[in-house]
């Protein structure tokens, strides 16, 4: 089976890359060991957040936000995206100071999307909030979408443009023979001149096949969801000094997270909910919304995600092999970036360079670290 580009990984990054390449006339095939969106991409919290990103990611996140605003034009689906803003809540003067410093940093970089709000504005936006809070930092353009719907929309549009997706196709080894990649999988051999590694938490193994070690750590992030509730809050909320990610979806359910780790058996791809950690999460929610005490949790789950030591992704050409590219290590905030990642990779592959500044995401930044 041969094509122009082989993409390893049927998550958002793989699907987004397939779409952008297909739109520019490339024949792509996406190889996925499970099913599209089975891991991070299908089970994330769906947050569309520019707020509080690493400065290295700001140009990317701002561009991605523009794409999300117009996502229907790209994907023929609105992915249920909503933009009620994302908010970090300050509970005291120290929190306020921390947020002020952050706001100043963003302004100094020439961006306006993060804005300080005072107590009055906070309670105007979130009247249901416990009265002890004092203000916050908001990005009013932020919001959320439904992750598996977005993944599906990327896949469907890419397929409509000619891309192919193969489930249950696990890549076992890579070999370069007379200028083409020979990719041996659980479903036979695939060939293409160009290879893209979008293998998420498993990207380290793929990079390893290219003799390119990367300090990637797979971790399992937990989320829980409640029963449907009457509408009571709009913005997506986090806290300045607590682990919290909290939103009410259109259907009334609350999605509660906050970078809490599940127990992970990576080799067997098994995750187990760590209830004692979720206990903290529940307590944090009740600290801000005591009226949710009797609300029932109906589901908790964990998704396996790739973390880099500096919490920013690798988006770059391979250093060891020509015609091989990487996009992985999104460290729990890749959903929002997904539309722009496909564009960047298509530019890297077809134009040799990206129109966006991705130097900080180069894989070479770990060279010294790996040698140590």
């Amino acid at each position: 089976m041969s094509s122009d580009v082989i993409i390893i990984g049927g998550g958002l990054m793989g699907a987004s890359t397939a779409l952008q390449l297909a739109m520019r006339g490339c024949r792509c095939i996406v190889l996925e060991k499970d099913s599209p969106g089975r891991h991070s991409s299908g089970v994330s919290a769906g947050g569309l957040r520019q707020l509080n990103r690493d400065p290295a990611e700001i140009p990317l996140t701002v561009e991605a936000a523009k794409m999300w605003r117009n996502i229907e034009a790209l994907l023929d689906s609105d992915c249920d995206a909503r933009f009620p803003g994302q908010l970090r809540i300050a509970e005291n003067a120290a929190d306020m100071e921390k947020l002020e410093r952050r706001a100043a940093l963003v302004r100094s970089l020439g961006y306006q999307h993060e804005e300080m709000i005072d107590r009055d504005e906070l309670y105007r936006l979130v009247p249901a909030l416990s009265p002890h809070c004092v203000g916050g930092l908001i990005c009013r353009e932020d919001g959320y979408a439904r992750p598996y719907h977005a993944l599906t929309a990327f896949r469907r549009k890419a397929q409509a443009q000619g891309a192919e997706f193969r489930s249950d196709t696990k890549v076992h080894s890579l070999r370069k023979k007379s200028g083409a990649w020979h990719v041996r999988t659980s479903q036979g051999i695939f060939n293409a001149p160009i290879l893209v590694n979008c293998a998420g938490a498993w990207a380290k193994a793929i990079a390893g096949m290219l003799d390119e070690p990367v300090p990637l750590t797979p971790k399992a992030l937990m989320l829980m969801v409640t029963e449907r509730l009457p509408h009571f809050v709009d913005p997506v909320m986090g806290a300045a000094s607590r682990k919290l990610s909290f939103k009410q979806m259109q259907n009334g359910t609350l999605i509660i997270g906050g970078a809490l780790l599940a127990k992970l058996d990576f080799a067997r791809e098994k995750t187990e909910i760590d209830w004692l950690r979720l206990t903290e999460s529940a307590a944090t929610v009740l600290r801000f919304f005591p009226q949710l005490k009797n609300v029932r949790i109906v589901r908790a789950w964990a998704g396996i995600e790739a973390f880099m030591p500096d919490n920013i992704p690798v988006i770059s050409a391979s250093q060891t092999c020509s015609n091989a590219y990487h996009a992985f290590g999104f460290s729990a905030h890749g959903f929002q970036l997904s539309p722009v990642i496909g564009r960047i990779l298509s530019e890297l592959i077809l134009d040799g360079r990206s129109t966006l500044p991705i130097e900080p995401c180069h894989i070479g930044r770990f060279n010294n670290m790996e040698k140590q």
């Binding site: 449907r228 009334g252 005591p290």
Partner: protein, 105 residues
């Protein structure tokens, strides 16, 4: 639809269903107590508002969700009547949550 067979000496307690005082034999489930009164429905669904009554009576289908003592989404078939218990039909997602945050007004 249903009737209660004449019961031998069972203890009777008082409950309140949608504001009306009723009697029920002690120890039976809320769903049983309410079904014996032949209600039109015990909840409406959050998605389309269609009417539902308990379906499995053994705790697995979650069709019997009702507002019990002010708490929404309680399984009436797995909750047992107690003296003075207040039981209400659950409409959709249930009663609005308190906006008790307050703010500065």
């Amino acid at each position: 639809m249903f009737k209660q067979l004449p019961a031998d000496e069972t203890e009777i307690i008082g409950i309140v269903f949608n504001g009306k005082a009723l009697q029920a034999p002690k120890g039976i489930s809320v769903a049983a107590a309410i079904l014996s009164r032949n209600p039109d429905h015990t909840r409406t669904t959050p998605v389309t508002g269609s009417k539902r009554l308990p379906f499995c009576m053994m705790g697995v289908c979650y069709e019997c969700l009702m507002v019990i003592d002010g708490q929404a989404n309680r399984r009436a078939c797995a909750t047992y009547v107690e003296e003075g218990m207040r039981i209400e039909t659950q409409l959709g997602v249930g009663p609005a949550l308190a906006l008790e945050g307050g703010g500065s007004e």
